[in-house]
């Protein structure tokens, strides 16, 4: 078993309280960062090799370096809109270690020159909003947030902005529209948020888990961090394992851990010792893998790319041998249809058609040509939309039909569910 390094979900009781956090070295990284030049902070994060944990795995230091060095107002947004099906890690960070998130956000704001931080949190997370607000209030009262932080020239405010039920608002440009009080329609890129963000001002958007890594990097150095896990995608990831496993939950492990170890050694294996039919490795947007495709796959950017999927949010959904994959893909299609914002025609119409075709298949009216039709619709969405939701909707269906074709064929042949044959 890999050594379990815990950088974020540490085994310290009551760590959500500021006194406990401080007693365990909390806010020392902020002090250290404030003694450095902003560019030196960015350099350290670049050296660490940290990549975004919100799904795209973009290098964090590089993202920060895109921020212009002028005197315009600048913003940092903490993306806590956690909505990718299978993902439940950001809420764990907010619950167990909110101050490490706040400290990371403060360091990021200092590095990029932001005067305001908005935490965009999904509307359903009322409990976690309260926990985070309490932590923010504590940090204000201890002088870590506010004017002239720790006696420096650096001042910043931090506000929670509650979402209201829209998966699309996890997409960074839709998120900005939402903060501006509009419908969450993604923007064209370029211009990227660092050039034209909130209200047209330079803005950086980082995921909760990404920012929670920052204090550790500043405290121990980028080079130290870069040695953890997979060299091209270093650090730990809070892998969320769900589905048919004995011990579902969050496992913080170094990147590069074997997918099979994650499932069998950490998450307790499959219930009733059944075989694995499929694994969604990084949230519902990532192509599902067949059970016979998971051997030797490592949980990092390249590992999953080579396996024919993506790391996404590190949200692993395990499905046992009795799982009806047509129904799973039907449910995924339903989700994207519901969540498509409606701005781009290929996505708005295409997600609806994919769902309708899958719906007739599971209701026993599928036609043999439906499988090619599904792939064709998916192909016509992919790459033809403003944001990545279109691709995210297309991939699971396209690869799902390819990889689980026999399930679909049974449905169509028997005009009913797979269970009929049993």
């Amino acid at each position: 078993m890999m050594e379990q390094i815990k950088l974020i979900l540490k085994d310290i009781p009551e760590l959500h309280k500021i006194k406990v956090y401080e007693a365990n070295g909390g806010y020392l990284a902020l002090k250290k960062a404030l003694g450095m030049k902003p560019d030196e902070v960015i350099e350290e994060v670049k050296k660490s090799g940290l990549r975004g944990r919100g799904g795209a795995a973009f290098p964090t230091g590089l993202k920060w370096s895109f921020m212009p060095k002028d005197s315009r107002p600048k913003y940092l947004i903490v993306n806590a809109d956690e909505g990718e099906p299978g993902t439940f890690k950001d809420r764990a960070i907010i619950e167990k270690n909110p101050h490490q998130l706040i400290e990371g956000a403060l360091i990021a704001a200092y590095a990029i020159g932001a005067q305001t931080i908005y935490v965009y949190i999904r509307g359903e997370y009322v409990k976690w909003m309260k926990i985070l607000q309490t932590a923010i209030d504590e940090a204000y009262s201890q002088g870590y947030i506010g004017k002239n932080i720790l006696g420096s020239e650096f001042s910043v405010d931090m506000y929670i902005h509650r979402g209201a039920g829209a998966y699309i608002c996890g997409e960074e440009s839709a998120l900005m529209e939402s903060i501006e009080g509009k419908r969450g329609y993604p923007r064209f890129k370029p211009p990227f948020p660092a050039q034209y963000g909130l209200w047209g001002y330079p803005t950086t958007i980082n995921n909760v888990e990404t920012l929670a890594n920052v204090p550790v990097i500043i405290q121990n150095g980028g080079e130290w961090y870069a040695r953890i896990g997979a060299p091209k995608h270093p650090g730990t990831i809070l892998f969320g394992v769900s589905g048919h496993v004995n011990k579902p939950g969050i496992y913080e492990l170094p990147t590069g851990v074997l997918l099979t170890d994650l499932i069998y050694k950490y998450a307790g294996g499959v219930r009733n010792n059944k075989k694995i039919k499929a694994v969604i490795p990084g949230g519902s947007s990532t192509p599902p893998l067949r059970g016979d495709q998971i051997e030797g796959v490592t949980m990092d950017f390249d590992g999953l790319k080579n396996a024919g999927s993506m790391i996404g949010t590190g949200a692993v959904i395990v499905m046992d041998e009795d799982t009806d994959m047509v129904k799973v893909l039907w449910r995924i299609a339903k989700f994207y249809w519901h969540e498509s914002c409606g701005q781009c025609t290929p996505c708005r119409e295409g997600t609806g058609w994919m769902f309708k075709i899958l719906d007739r298949i599971i209701k026993g009216s599928g036609r043999p040509e439906d499988l090619d039709l599904l792939v064709s619709v998916a192909d016509n969405i992919e790459g033809n939309t403003v944001c990545a939701l279109g691709d995210a909707a297309a991939w699971p269906i396209k690869f799902g039909v390819q990889r689980f074709r026999e399930d679909f064929e049974k449905y169509i042949k028997f005009k009913s569910t797979v269970l009929v044959e049993k």
Binding site: T87, D90, V126, I280
Partner: protein, 158 residues
């Protein structure tokens, strides 16, 4: 139409943003807290309060699923049926609730006690299946737990 206290809250919220329009989502949350749902009259009031067009407010309210556009019951039961919950019996639970409450998804019981909704992933996949009732999550839910919960909430005469 807002209470004095809520009007003060609106003023506080407006200070956080450079434009009044940015206060729209938080102000709609206040409205929903006060009225339980957001009627067209409330939308007009919010539009006037923030100095933005009513059509814009309407567009926003109808875009986000959590703003209720009709009254909901005292207990709004929201059943997640996305993949991880589905693999753990979410649809069976939903079916049970429809029978138990004698309403379909999207409906409210005649006594205005329960509204039943099917919702997308609530971020509780490790403790699936999950049901959200008003602001609270009920995790690792099964039929027996649901039965007890409904019995308990039904007894509440307040």
């Amino acid at each position: 139409m807002f209470t004095e206290e809520n009007l003060k809250k609106v003023e506080e919220i407006k200070k956080r943003y450079p434009t009044p329009q940015a206060a729209l989502l938080p102000v709609l949350w206040i409205a929903q807290e006060q009225y339980g749902w957001i009627s067209e009259d409330v939308m007009r009031y919010v539009a006037e309060l923030l100095g933005i067009p009513y059509s814009h407010v309407y567009g926003v309210v109808t875009f986000y699923t959590m703003y209720n556009r009709k009254p909901v019951g005292k207990y709004h039961i929201q059943v997640c049926t996305n993949v991880s919950c589905m693999l753990n019996g979410a649809y069976e639970n939903l079916e049970y609730l429809q029978k138990k409450l004698k309403i379909k998804v999207g409906q409210t019981t005649p006594d205005m006690k329960f509204t039943l909704s099917e919702v997308e992933c609530l971020g509780s996949c490790g403790t699936a299946p999950v049901v959200q009732i008003n602001d609270d999550y009920y995790e690792n839910i099964d039929r027996e737990k649901l039965e007890n919960l409904i019995e308990e909430l039904s007894r509440d005469e307040k």
